[in-house]
């Protein structure tokens, strides 16, 4: 199949898979609670948060500030990020207090924003 035919076929298949008007709940009411989880907003990311565990003081500020509930916390400790939903806004890295070096007084954050390109082909 040429490129155009492939695109048309894909479009038709997609449309066929979608429900008709008679099968939809009225007014677009969403009956399945919390189904926003199924929408992978992580695809939108341009930079990605990387957790540097040695600098983490488990203050929970990143979890508090994250607008997408994308900081994973298990048993009261931060364990990483929900990359299916993290949009890479960088607020967590911005708010992270990290650890201060006693001698140099330098701040070492526990979250660093790294370009997505580094993780993708």
């Amino acid at each position: 199949m040429n490129k155009e035919a492939k695109a048309t076929a894909a479009k038709a298949a997609h449309a066929k898979a979608l429900p008709g008007w008679k099968d939809l709940p009225r007014a677009g009411i969403i009956l399945e609670p919390g189904n926003a989880l199924q929408f992978q907003t992580g695809d939108w990311r341009v930079v990605r948060p990387v957790w540097i565990e040695t600098n983490c003081i488990q203050c929970m500020l990143c979890w508090t500030y994250c607008p997408d509930n994308a900081v994973r916390v298990e048993n009261g400790k931060v364990t990483g990020f929900d990359l299916a939903h993290c949009k890479g806004c960088g607020i967590c890295a911005n708010e992270c207090p990290g650890k201060i070096d006693r001698e140099t007084k330098e701040r070492h954050k526990a979250i660093e924003m790294v370009p997505e390109s580094k993780f993708r082909d």
């Binding site: 979608l18 008007w21 939809l24 009225r26 007014a27 677009g28 969403i30 009956l31 609670p33």
Partner: protein
């Protein structure tokens, strides 16, 4: 026990609302509707209703609050006119597309500019594409009766659309008439309890209302909304018949007055129909075969039914108390004309735009319309298709 009282249209509607005892009423004033929410507020203050009365800062907020309450699962109402209706325009569409059974009295008043507080239908005509059902009353009795039926129509599971209960500003809203009120128990029983299947305050079944749609779903939701408006036709007839059986006052899409054997007729909505009836009586006494079709439901528009009722006539005049400024004809006219298109044999049809900004439309002017119609019926051609009645040239 029924009782006959002397009430203005606003009083009749306010008392009707008292009998409905809605869960929520959002209130904002505008002439000539203000008395509805004002009188209702005295019922709230006196503890005669259980309604949560929300005083908002604008009509946009009034409709927004009403939508929120209805979505939460409450029977919610508000009332407005003219610029107030225009101000809530964007959320008026939302009420219909969210399929919320809100009932709203609208006291018809001209839109600005120039500022005018008097009656014409430009305000509700501005909402004719909003997806709301629109019922028009000839008098205070009909306004009251329409209000009660509106709740049953709106909440019917095949419909679930909001309803505007329209009545002419000042002419109906402020004029005293004999109104037969149903008793409280009857109204309570007639409308029953509001039992929404989906509502936000249902903790057992959490859901989301009013989400985003992209190009892959919006059209399907709108198609479903269109179907609901089509379904409303049958429901309006059923409810009107039931109301008639129980109160002695039946309602349908329209009222025919001396129409079946008429040769010429007027189609009109609102209080002017009352004036037309007086002229019809007079002309009939003189042996003229004239009639009237008083339209009650403008939305949904009874396309096939109107065509059937009008097809035997030689000439029809559609009187519009609003102009559409489309360079041709006014709302009821263009829609009635389109309804006649499919008829093999169709009457001549002309438009009279009248009564804008409360301009009085009297017996002699209606008489002139019938006289024009008789000429049309006998002669060739139609002459001017769109005419203005009562304007100074």
């Amino acid at each position: 026990m029924k009782k006959t009282v002397a009430y203005t249209g606003n009083e009749a509607v306010a008392h009707g609302m008292k009998q409905l005892n809605p869960d929520v009423v959002a209130a904002y004033p505008i002439t000539p509707q203000t008395e509805i929410v004002q009188i209702f507020s005295t019922f709230v203050a006196d503890g005669l209703v259980d309604t949560e009365f929300i005083t908002v800062e604008s009509e946009h907020s009034a409709m927004s609050a009403t939508i929120g309450a209805a979505a939460a699962g409450a029977r919610a109402m508000t009332a407005t006119s003219s610029a107030g209706l225009a101000f809530m325009h964007e959320v008026v569409y939302v009420a219909a597309s969210m399929r919320l059974p809100i009932v709203m009295p609208v006291v018809n008043r001209a839109l600005s500019a120039p500022i005018n507080i008097h009656c014409d239908h430009s305000d509700t005509m501005g909402e004719r594409d909003s997806g709301w059902i629109q019922l028009y009353a000839e008098n205070a009795q009909e306004a009251y009766d329409n209000l009660l039926q509106a709740v049953r129509i709106a909440e019917h599971p095949d419909v679930l659309l909001p309803v505007m209960v329209c009545m002419d500003g000042f002419i109906i809203s402020h004029a005293l008439e004999n109104v037969e009120l149903n008793d409280d128990a009857f109204v309570k029983d007639f409308v029953g309890q509001y039992k929404p299947d989906h509502y936000l305050l249902d903790a057992e079944n959490p859901l989301t209302m009013g989400p985003l749609d992209l190009f892959d779903f919006y059209f399907e939701h709108k198609r479903a909304q269109a179907e609901a408006m089509r379904n409303a036709k049958n429901v309006i007839l059923q409810v009107g018949k039931e109301y008639g059986e129980k109160t002695g006052r039946s309602y349908g899409f329209y009222e025919k007055y001396q129409l079946d054997d008429a040769e010429v007729a007027i189609v009109v909505m609102g209080s002017t129909a009352g004036t037309v009836k007086a002229v019809v009586d007079d002309l009939r006494r003189q042996g003229q075969k004239v009639g009237l079709l008083k339209l009650r439901t403008f939305r949904p528009f009874p396309n096939e039914e109107l065509a059937k009722e009008l097809q035997h006539l030689k000439a029809v005049a559609v009187m519009d108390r609003a102009d559409s400024f489309n360079g041709f004809g006014a709302p009821i006219f263009v829609q009635t004309r389109a309804a006649l298109y499919d008829l093999a044999q169709r009457p001549k049809i002309v438009n009279y735009i009248y009564g804008l900004g409360g301009r009085d439309c009297d017996l002699s002017q209606i008489g002139q319309v019938y006289s024009d119609l008789q000429q049309l019926a006998q002669g060739d051609g139609t002459g001017e298709i769109v005419r203005y009645l009562g304007v100074r040239e």
